[in-house]
C-alpha cells in the first residue's frame, strides 16, 4: 500500500507538472491562472497521498493552508486583472 500511494504521489506530480505547459503557452492571464489552480489542487492531493503513505506531521494542515491561500491569490488575480471588477470605475 505504501508503494502504491508513493507511486500515485509521483504520478500526480508528473501530471500537474505537465499542466504547467499552459503556464508557458498562456496566451492570456486566465489560462496561466488555470495552470496555477491545477498546480495548487495537485499539490494538495500530492501532500494527502504522501502523508497517508508515510505519516507526516502537519501534511494535512499544509494542504489545508494551500487550498485556502490559493483561493485568495486567485481572487486577487482575477479581480486585479479585470478593471471592471476592481470597483474603480
Amino acid at each position: 500500500m505504501v508503494e502504491f500511494l508513493t507511486a500515485a504521489a509521483i504520478l500526480l506530480m508528473a501530471i500537474v507538472a505537465a499542466g504547467l505547459v499552459r503556464l508557458l503557452l498562456g496566451p492570456g492571464i486566465a489560462d496561466r491562472l488555470m495552470a496555477v489552480q491545477l498546480l495548487g489542487t495537485g499539490s494538495a492531493g500530492m501532500l494527502l497521498l504522501s502523508a497517508s503513505a508515510v505519516p507526516m506531521a502537519g501534511a494535512v494542515d499544509v494542504a489545508l493552508v494551500l487550498g485556502l491561500l490559493a483561493a485568495l491569490v486567485s481572487v486577487a488575480l482575477v479581480k486585479s486583472a479585470d478593471p471592471s471588477m476592481a470597483g474603480e470605475e
Binding site: 498562456g26 496566451p27 492570456g28 492571464i29 486566465a30 489560462d31 486583472a81
Partner: protein, 109 residues
Amino acid sequence: MSSETWFGLCGAVLVGLGLFGLITHPDALRKLLAFNLLGGGVFLVFGTIARRGAAAGFGGDPVPQALVITGIVVAFASTALAVALLRRLAEAGGEPAAAAPAPLAEPPS
C-alpha cells in the same frame, strides 16, 4: 544523490538566477521578484543544512528551521515596503509611455 542535496543544489541555482535578474532587469518590480527568488534559494540551502542535522528524533535541526521562518516573514515585510515605495515613485515621477501590455485573455473562438 540524497534528497536534501537535490534541494541544496536547487537553492544554489535559485541564488544564481535571482542575482542575475536582480542585476539585469530594468523594471524595479521584476527586481523585487528576483530578490524573492534569491531569498528562496538561501532558505532552501538552510533547509538542506537543517535536514542534514536531523538528530534526537527530529526530522531536522529545528534551529535553522526557525531561522528560515523568521526570514520568510522579514522578506515579506521588506517586499511590502518596497512595493509601497514603488507605488509612491510611480505617483511622484513623470510617466512616459510604457510598452503595450500583453493581451489579458484569449477570446473564445
